[in-house]
């Protein structure tokens, strides 16, 4: 559908990606409206159930983004997130979710431009995947 506007929920870490989003803001970089950020202290804090809940609620795309490996403000929280998201993406298809809807990226605090770019790219990718029809599936 050409007028499909995806809803993307982004769990971002306070120290890196949230700061990068702020920087994108102060730099007045325009990016698509589709993303809604939920601030976490660390990607390691992101429990897979938040992502699953979001998908069940009908979110079309899920982004988890934090500090680059080696730069985590809490040493290695991002590495734990990497393991969890990888495992989650392996399980999701078994529940009927396209695992490509869940994306993990590393965006550092000074990378405002990368943040805007990531959002733009993800919106395009999710648009191509189409809407998350979980609500219809649940009814059936």
């Amino acid at each position: 559908m050409s007028d499909f506007e995806p809803t993307i929920i982004a769990f971002v870490c306070n120290w890196c990606t949230y700061t990068a989003a702020d920087l994108a803001g102060t730099s007045r970089l325009a990016y698509p409206k589709n993303v809604r950020l939920i601030r976490m202290m660390c990607t390691g804090m992101v429990d897979p159930k938040y992502i699953i809940k979001a998908l069940l609620e009908g979110a079309d795309g899920l982004l988890v983004s934090g500090c680059h490996p080696g730069d985590c403000h809490y040493v290695n929280g991002n590495l734990k997130a990497r393991r969890r998201i990888k495992l989650l993406k392996e399980i999701l298809p078994r529940f009927g979710f396209d695992e490509r809807r869940v994306k993990l990226t590393w965006i550092g605090a000074s990378e405002g431009v990368d943040f805007a770019k990531t959002i733009k790219e993800m919106v395009a990718e999710i648009k191509a995947l189409g809407p998350n029809d979980v609500k219809q599936q649940m009814v059936l």
């Binding site: 700061t19 409206k33 809604r36 939920i38 429990d47």
Partner: protein, 1136 residues
């Protein structure tokens, strides 16, 4: 009772209201459950804005507050403060960012308004689930850590010390001062950098509140704000601070040259050095790596690098003394050693190994042994008998005599020296060389008895009765092995090689025959052959059953023999002696082929059937091996003999099965080299000494066994080493040689020796020649110093680690590293500086690389590596100003005739007095050409370009291309972050930004804070800046640190993890996940418990916990789900 939420949306002037319809959002939120108040206002963060919240809390009994405005990273604390003042717990507050995340990034007002509504509604839904939380209050340790001793670090340290607080200043280099002290003058006042810098350095060094830790690095920091634990590694200087007076005699004596880092490689320093004369502390330091491979390869551990360096300096006596610390027979080994050190010499990676053995011989030949003094010896009462005066025996005798023991040497032969005397012929080792060295050893008070044979003239028991508390056996291997050739014993004319050589060496030898045949391929065989030639034998033939490659004799000996006319038959095996009338007439041999390798790894010779032939000869000398004569041991006594006919001894202590009898050398190992005998002798003398002092030798042996292998951290082979052929010693011509026993190898000339010693690469840097120790009157040098680890607590940390100047080598177009008169800014500063390589004169290098004449024209190229997409996009800020400074200084020092060309893009003269200085330089006649040059080349197209560097580019103001010949080019190379900034950042918990410099909390309002509370930044490590700005920033950072330190306490966020003991199942997975080891297991309750002092609230535990027992306060699952629900519900209602 339901919640009462107050909602506020800020216009932020037009920043938010310009895109988001704020009244509409307020209206939308007003309709949500629990929202009691919903307002919009122009500037929520202002006083009236905050007062509005406070009034509403009281008037409407609000118990939750939500503000939709800018980023919580900016103003969350502001609004939390407002809540607190109104009596509401600050954690009942939530913020939605509708500026950075909405109005500033969304173009369409409808989309922006919808997004704002969604985020605001999410915050409202979430805040319902917030809990009352109280900040934790912790003590702040009063001490401060400053990392980096440059101008910023020093200023911060001084400011903190002034306030009465104690500060640790850790500096990586041997002196504080940093790059600023490398400069000559500073812009725009042209103050001398040292004049303004050294007083600060001295103040830092003398201030009682500053603990200066130079030549040290911060290795680890743990803890949290107010309570950091710092681990510092203090590298060993090998010179004692506080004792060294800085006189510099040590550097004069040191032989090892290294490129000087302080001088940017333009000149050399010694291995013991001080960066510059005004260094603080004044103490010298020694650069020392692991022992060089040559030293490690020598079995006796002779300090090879040390004596080679001393020879280079012409200090031959010192060289010999150094050698003799590990080798009492230097002249001998300088002639006969097979030099395992040369096989490991890293000069091999460049061209050829250094001629180490020849150098040793050269040094010894310069020293008069008769004039060498004997050191004073403190006598001990014990005495030791040494049986055998070969290299092992002489070494033990010398070692023990130096320790003060009474030593008596017993030698079976009429002359001392063992195989050195009776085995090695005079043309390899002249008599007088051996005599003078043995005489010197005996002069120490060693008693020597010749013609005393163990077993025949006395027994070991006799020695015991005579009062010797220990006996050292070193009788060598003087018995020839039987060739087991048929006819060996039937005819006259068959001599054994060892006996033959012995007789010749003792002066009682006779010509064995006219045509002599020698069987064997070892050194003894070749020695016998060459001696036979000198005895007048017309034909000398050597018969060996393998090929030349497998011959164990030294290659130089084989070559020598062949050049003297000795015939060698390879692949020829003995069959039988042929004789007539009881005399030898010939020797029957057969050809062999090489088959499979045998136990020694060499290919086995296989006889070829039917290939027998006879070589006519009248004397046969079998030289196929030796063994020790152990007939004395047959009479019992307890010595164990191995199946190879050698005596068994402990490999670490050389102790035999008789506790007071030690043995080493060929009698233990079988025939081996002289240096191995010396090495074994040292082991034995050390063990004998401990034995005589009553020590348990088993423990000593175990200690030796468990010693870790030596390190291999050596100086890398420099890439710019020029190849230089190995010097060759002169030799007597082959014709002259066989006429007599004159020494064949005549050694080096002095010039050749010094040049050869100069080829040494100083792999270990400091060569431990101990010249510095010798000349230091203050006795400050201590080569045994070890690295030290210091741990101490601090409350706050200031990072002031500075910058590096970019290396412009990758920019090939400017010719740095190619043309010797293209310099970086820092190199030019050193040339300008009075303590630098030219004494402050501005000179250019001639074709030999020496600084000789001053330049007549100089080009200064701006923005090399800065404002450049290929390297650094940023502007380095200081280069335009120092370029002006250089132009001014060159004309000042060299003369006003010098032409200066500044190639700039923009002139950045932003500071106080900067623009005025620029004007002055313009008026003085410096030429400014706009446009970055394309290239610097030395290819001249016209006569006036010959011998010059030509700058090629386009003057963009005139639109014309130019070629400008100049004498010198200075590149304004970019200021960049330290190479290891990212790594260092991890130690402090701070990040680097995209430009490589440390990331500040906020570029506008928080340039000194970092993401980690309690860690501040100062100086160029945060971004390129000049000295005034660095000093200002340093004082600012000090103020921030002091603010915490003087209050003595700080509030830390309570948003840490808590594990609900009712839900926790005790799986303990969270414990392993915690990066701060902040979770403990309560055995009694069977649940995991968070240590509140250590938890930082990262949520690694919460993100995993399968039961949801672990949750981070203020980020728990109810709150996150509520926020998610808020978003999804609103999108469902109004669209995305």
């Amino acid at each position: 009772m339901s919640n009462r939420i107050g909602f506020y949306i800020c216009h932020c002037g037009v920043n938010i209201a310009g895109k988001v319809r704020v009244e509409e959002v307020a209206e939308f939120i007003r309709g949500l459950p629990n929202v009691v108040v919903s307002r919009d206002y122009k500037f929520m963060c202002s006083d009236p804005g905050q007062e509005m919240i406070e009034k509403d809390i009281k008037a409407h009994h609000l118990n939750r507050v939500v503000v939709a405005s800018c980023s919580p990273r900016l103003h969350e604390k502001t609004f939390q403060g407002a809540c607190q003042r109104a009596g509401l717990n600050p954690f009942f507050f939530q913020m939605a960012s509708v500026r950075e995340q909405v109005s500033w990034v969304t173009l369409d007002p409808d989309e922006a308004t919808r997004k704002a509504k969604t985020l605001a509604a999410a915050a409202v839904q979430r805040v319902n689930h917030h809990q009352r939380l109280f900040a934790r209050n912790v003590k702040v340790h009063p001490d401060v850590l400053v990392v980096g001793g440059g101008i910023a670090g020093m200023q911060a340290a001084l400011d903190i010390a002034e306030s009465g607080h104690k500060v640790y200043l850790v500096e990586r280099e041997t002196t504080i001062g940093g790059h600023m002290l490398q400069f000559d003058k500073t812009f725009p006042t042209l103050d001398c950098a040292a004049c303004i810098g050294t007083p600060k350095m001295v103040s830092v060094g003398q201030n009682p509140n500053i603990k200066l830790l130079t030549y040290s690095e911060v290795k680890e920091i743990s803890g949290y704000i107010g309570n950091y634990k710092v681990k510092v590694l203090r590298k060993p200087r090998y010179v004692k601070e506080g004792v060294c007076t800085g006189c510099g005699e040590c550097a004069n004596a040191c032989p090892v040259l290294r490129p000087s880092e302080w001088e940017e490689g333009l000149s050399a320093r010694k291995a013991i050095y001080r960066s510059f004369p005004q260094a603080v502390p004044i103490t010298f330091a020694i650069e020392k790596k692991d022992r060089a491979p040559c030293v490690l390869a020598c079995p006796a551990g002779v300090n090879v690098q040390g004596y080679v360096q001393l020879i280079r300096q012409g200090k031959y006596t010192e060289a010999v003394k150094l050698i003799m610390q590990k080798l009492p027979l230097p002249g001998v080994l300088g002639r006969v050693c097979p030099h395992p050190c040369e096989a490991q010499c890293r000069r091999l990676d460049v061209d050829e190994a250094v001629a180490i053995r020849d150098l040793k011989r050269f040094a010894v030949d310069q020293v008069n042994f008769r004039e060498l003094p004997v050191p004073p010896i403190e006598e001990r009462k014990e005495k030791v008998a040494v049986i055998g005066s070969g290299p092992a025996g002489l070494t033990v005798a010398y070692d023990l005599r130096l320790k003060g023991y009474g030593v008596t040497l017993f030698e079976a032969l009429p002359e001392l020296g063992g195989m050195l005397r009776v085995g090695i012929p005079d043309y390899r080792l002249p008599r007088d060389v051996l005599d003078r060295e043995i005489d010197y050893l005996l002069r120490h008070g060693i008693d020597a008895k010749t013609n005393q044979s163990l077993g025949r003239d006395f027994t070991i028991e006799d020695l015991r009765k005579q009062g010797y508390q220990a006996v050292f056996l070193a009788v060598g291997a003087h018995q020839s092995l039987q060739a087991n050739v048929a006819g060996e014993k039937d005819y006259a004319g068959v001599l054994d090689a060892v006996g033959f050589l012995r007789d010749v060496n003792l002066g009682r030898g006779r010509k064995p025959g006219d045509r002599v045949l020698i069987i064997g391929g070892g050194n003894v065989a070749i020695d016998a052959a060459r001696v036979a030639k000198r005895m007048g034998c017309r034909e000398v033939t050597v018969v060996y059953r393998r090929t030349r490659e497998e011959m164990p004799a030294y290659p130089e000996e084989i070559e020598g023999a062949i050049s003297e006319g000795v015939q060698i038959h390879y692949l020829t095996a003995p069959v039988r002696v042929v004789g007539e009338d009881g005399k030898v007439t010939g020797f029957e041999c057969m050809r062999t082929e090489l088959g499979e390798p045998d136990a020694s790894g060499r290919r086995r010779p296989v006889p070829v059937e039917g290939s027998e032939f006879v070589i006519p000869c009248d004397a046969i000398i079998p030289a196929i091996g030796q063994k020790p004569d152990l007939s004395f041991a047959a009479s019992g006594g307890g010595l164990k003999v191995s199946r190879w006919g050698t005596v068994e001894a402990n490999p670490y202590t050389m102790q035999t099965h008789l506790p007071y009898v030690f043995a080493a050398g060929d009698m233990v190992t079988g025939p081996a080299t002289v240096i191995e005998a010396v090495a074994a002798g040292h082991k034995a003398s050390e063990a004998i000494h401990r034995y005589l002092q009553g020590e348990d030798l088993r423990l000593f042996a175990e200690e030796k066994r468990l010693q870790p292998p030596p390190g291999q951290d050596w100086e890398p082979v420099p890439s710019d080493v020029r190849k230089q052929a190995r010097a060759r010693t002169s030799h007597v011509t082959p014709e002259e040689r066989t006429a007599s026993f004159v020494e064949v190898d005549q050694g080096f000339s002095e010039a050749d020796a010094k040049a050869e010693a100069g080829r040494c690469l100083n792999c270990g840097v400091c060569c431990e020649c101990m010249e510095c120790v010798r000349v230091c009157e203050a006795k400050a040098v201590d080569h045994t110093m070890k690295p030290e680890v210091l741990e101490f607590p601090v409350g706050t940390i200031i990072v002031a680690t500075g910058y590096d100047v970019m290396d412009p080598s990758p920019m090939k177009q400017f010719g740095y590293g190619q043309y010797q008169n293209v310099y970086t800014s820092l190199e030019f500063e050193r040339i300008n500086n009075a303590t630098g390589p030219t004494g402050g004169q501005i000179l250019i290098r001639d074709k030999d690389g020496k600084f000789t004449k001053p330049p007549e024209s100089v080009a200064i190229i701006h923005c090399v590596g800065s404002r450049d997409e290929n390297f650094h996009q940023y502007c380095s800020r200081v280069c335009c100003m120092y370029a002006l400074k250089y132009g001014h200084l060159i004309r000042d020092k060299v003369g006003h005739h010098v032409k200066i060309y500044d190639y700039y893009i923009d002139m950045r003269c932003f500071g106080k007095g900067y623009e005025e200085f620029y004007r002055r330089c313009q008026e003085e006649g410096i030429t400014f050409i706009r446009g970055k040059p394309a290239e610097v080349t030395d290819r001249a197209l016209t006569p006036d370009e010959e011998g010059k560097l030509i700058v090629i580019g386009e003057d963009t103001l005139l639109g014309k291309r130019y070629r400008k010949p100049v004498d010198m080019v200075i590149l304004c190379a970019a200021m960049e972050a330290r190479q290891d900034a990212a790594e260092m950042g991890r130690v402090f918990g701070i990040n680097v930004g995209a430009d490589g410099f440390f990331l500040e909390e906020h570029p506008k309002l928080g340039p000194l804070n970092t993401a980690t509370d309690g860690v501040f930044l100062a100086g160029a490590c945060q971004s390129p800046k000049d000295i005034p700005d660095s000093v200002a920033q340093a004082s600012g950072a000090a103020a921030k640190a002091l603010a915490l330190a003087s209050r003595g306490q700080v509030d830390i966020s309570p948003t840490i993890s808590w594990i609900d003991p009712d839900v926790c199942s005790g799986c303990q997975t969270c414990i392993k996940l915690c990066p701060y080891s902040a979770i403990e297991f309560d055995e009694r309750k069977g649940v995991s418990v968070v240590n509140e002092a250590l938890c930082k609230g990262c949520g690694s535990c919460a993100g995993f916990c399968p039961s949801g027992a672990a949750q981070v306060r203020h980020f728990n699952e109810k709150q996150v789900f509520a926020e998610l629900d808020g978003i999804m519900d609103t999108i469902a209602a109004i669209g995305v």
